[in-house]
C-alpha cells in the first residue's frame, strides 16, 4: 500500500504534461490556427483509431512478429557473441572495434539493400531488427561480464569451481542487470526497425499501412498509426521490465531495502 502511493504521485506530473499537450493540440485545431489537412485534431485521430482498429491490429500483428523474431534472434546471437568474446581475449580485441564501426552505419541506409537481397517478405525486416538489437545487448552483456569482481572469481576458484561453474553462478547473474538495460533499449529499437524496413516495401505491417495512408493524405490515420507504434513500444518495454523483475528478484529486494534505510535516516 505504502509502496504504491509514491509511485503514483511521482507519475502525476508526466500525466499532467501529457494532458496539457493534448489540450493545446485540441485547441490549436479547433480554433483553426493550423489547417486540418496539416494537423488533424486529436478527436479525428481518436476516431480514425477506433474505425481502423481491426486493420491496424492486423498490420501490427505482422510488425510485432517481425520485431519479436528479430529480437529473439538478436538476443541469442548477442549472448553467443558476448560469451565467446569474453572467453577469448583475442576475439574480443578483433571484434569489438568492428562492432563499434558497424553501429555507425545508419539503419535507413542498409534497409534498401536488405530488401534488394531478400525480397519483400519478412526476412529483410527480421534481419534489420536483428542488426539493430544485437549491439546494445552484446555490449550490455560484455560490460556485465567484465564488471564482475575479481575477488568473486577468486572465491569461486578457491571453492574449486571450474570455468563453467564460475560462469553460471557468478558471471552470468552479475551481467543480468546490464543485459536487461540492453534489452530494454533493443525492444524499442525493434519495433522502429521493423516499421522502417516495412516502409521500403512489403505486403503487410504497420510500416506498409503507413505508406498507404500517407499516399492517400489520410493524416488522421497516419497519426493513429504513429500513436499505436508508441503504444506497442511501451508495451514491449513494460514486458521487458516484467521479465527483468522475474529474472532478478533480488533487485526488488535491494531497492526496497534501500528505501527502508533511506526512510530511517530521513526521519
Amino acid at each position: 500500500m505504502n509502496g504504491k502511493l509514491p509511485s503514483i504521485t511521482s507519475k502525476l506530473p508526466a500525466a499532467a504534461a501529457l494532458a496539457l499537450i493534448c489540450l493545446v493540440w485540441f485547441l490549436v485545431c479547433e480554433t483553426g490556427a493550423v489547417p486540418a489537412y496539416m494537423l488533424p485534431s486529436p478527436v479525428d485521430v481518436a476516431r480514425a483509431m477506433v474505425n481502423d482498429f481491426p486493420t491496424i491490429m492486423d498490420h501490427s500483428r505482422v510488425t510485432l512478429q517481425e520485431a519479436f523474431y528479430g529480437l529473439c534472434i538478436g538476443v541469442g546471437l548477442a549472448f553467443i557473441t558476448a560469451t565467446v568474446m569474453d572467453r577469448f581475449l583475442l576475439l574480443d580485441r578483433a571484434l569489438y572495434p568492428l562492432m563499434i564501426i558497424t553501429q555507425t552505419i545508419p539503419t535507413i541506409a542498409i534497409a534498401p539493400l536488405l530488401v534488394l537481397w531478400m525480397g519483400f517478405g519478412m526476412a529483410p525486416k527480421i534481419t534489420l531488427v536483428v542488426i539493430t538489437t544485437f549491439f546494445p545487448i552484446t555490449v550490455g552483456l560484455l560490460d556485465g561480464y567484465r564488471n564482475v569482481d575479481r575477488d568473486a572469481i577468486d572465491l569461486m576458484r578457491a571453492m574449486g569451481a571450474g570455468r563453467m561453474q564460475i560462469f553460471t553462478h557468478v558471471k552470468f547473474p552479475s551481467a543480468l542487470p546490464n543485459f536487461f538495460s540492453g534489452l530494454r533499449i533493443s525492444a524499442s529499437y525493434a519495433v522502429v526497425g521493423a516499421v522502417i524496413s516495412e516502409w521500403l516495401g512489403g505486403f503487410e505491417g504497420l510500416g506498409v499501412y503507413m505508406t498507404r495512408v500517407k499516399k492517400a493524405y489520410a493524416f488522421d490515420k497516419m497519426f493513429a498509426v504513429i500513436i499505436f507504434i508508441v503504444i506497442i513500444s511501451l508495451l514491449l518495454m513494460a514486458f521487458v521490465n516484467l521479465l527483468s523483475r522475474v529474472a532478478m528478484p533480488w533487485v526488488q529486494v535491494e531497492k526496497r531495502q534501500d528505501l527502508a534505510s533511506a526512510g530511517e535516516t530521513g526521519k
Binding site: D151, R157, A158, M159, G160, A161, Q165, W250
Partner: protein, 258 residues
C-alpha cells in the same frame, strides 16, 4: 610453566594439517613474502599478525592455491597441494556473499560446486543455520542482513566448503567495535563446537591474543615470519581474559616484536 619447552613441543607434535614449506612469492619481480614456514595443527586457532601491506593476503593466496609461489610448497595433511585450489577453504577479506543468491544458496554453494544438487545442498546446510546464529535468514538476500550476520554467513559457507581446515582473511575487521566484541564471543563459542582448524589474518593485536592458540608475526619488506607467540590461556576464554595482567603482558611482548 610459561616457556616450558616440553609444552611447546607438545603443541608442535599435534597432527599437522596445513604446512607452508619455505614459501617465497614475488609479484612482477618484487619479492612480497620470503621463506615462510608455518604450520597449523589439528584443532588449532592460529593467527597471522602483521601490518597492512606485509603480505598476509598474498600468503593466503598461495596457501589456498589461487596463485603459485616462486619457491616452496603447500602441504595439506602431508599432500602437496601447491597451486591446487579447492582443497583449503578460504574466506576472503571481503565477505563476498553473492547478492543474487539467497543466504541458503550462498552458504551451500561449495556443496553445489562439488556436484551436489541444489535441494540436497540446501538440506545439508539448513540445520547449521541455528548453530551459527543465523536461524530465519535462509531465504533472505544478503542485503537484508547486518554486517555481523553477513560475516557469520560467510563463515558458515567457509565451514561448509572446508575439509577441516580454513583460512580467514581479516574476518572481523570491517565490523564496528561493539559488533566485533559480540562476534568474538560467538566465534570462540562456535569454534568449541565445530571441527575446524583455522589460520586467520588480523592486524588487531587484542583480537589475535583473545582468539588464538598461537600467533605468528609477519613483518618487514619482503614479509617474513619474525616470531611465534603461544597464548597459553585455557579455552573457553571470556572477556575477563582481555582485562587481565596476562593479556597485557602478551600485548607488551607482541608490540615489542612488531
Amino acid at each position: 610453566m610459561a616457556d616450558d619447552p616440553q609444552e611447546r613441543r607438545q603443541a608442535m607434535d599435534k597432527e599437522i594439517l596445513l604446512q607452508a614449506d619455505h614459501i617465497t612469492k614475488k609479484y612482477s619481480g618484487k619479492t612480497i613474502i620470503r621463506d615462510i614456514n608455518i604450520e597449523l595443527g589439528k584443532g588449532e586457532l592460529v593467527s597471522l599478525l602483521g601490518m597492512s601491506g606485509s603480505g598476509k593476503t598474498t600468503l593466503f593466496h598461495v596457501l589456498s592455491g589461487l596463485t603459485l609461489p616462486e619457491e616452496g610448497r603447500v602441504l595439506l595433511r602431508g599432500e602437496d597441494v601447491t597451486g591446487n585450489p579447492g582443497r583449503v577453504s578460504y574466506m576472503l577479506q571481503k565477505d563476498m556473499l553473492f547478492s543474487h543468491k539467497k543466504i541458503i544458496d550462498n552458504v551451500s554453494l561449495p556443496l553445489v560446486i562439488r556436484g551436489m544438487g541444489r535441494k540436497e545442498a540446501r538440506a545439508q546446510a539448513d540445520p547449521l543455520f541455528e548453530d551459527f546464529g543465523l536461524e530465519g535468514t535462509q531465504y533472505l538476500y544478503p542485503c537484508q542482513l547486518s554486517g555481523g550476520m553477513r560475516q557469520r554467513a560467510a563463515l558458515l559457507r567457509t565451514y561448509l566448503s572446508s575439509q577441516g581446515v580454513a583460512l580467514l582473511d581479516e574476518p572481523f575487521s570491517a565490523l564496528d567495535t561493539i559488533t566485533k566484541s559480540l562476534i568474538h564471543k560467538w566465534y570462540l563459542d562456535v569454534m568449541e563446537r565445530i571441527d575446524l582448524s583455522t589460520l586467520f589474518i588480523t592486524h588487531d593485536i587484542d583480537e589475535a591474543i583473545l582468539l588464538s592458540d598461537r600467533i605468528y608475526i609477519l613483518n618487514g619488506k619482503p614479509g617474513q615470519i619474525r616470531d611465534q607467540i603461544i597464548i597459553k590461556e585455557k579455552k573457553p576464554r571470556d572477556e575477563n581474559f582481555s582485562l587481565s595482567d596476562q593479556f597485557l603482558a602478551y600485548k607488551r611482548e607482541i608490540i615489542g616484536k612488531l
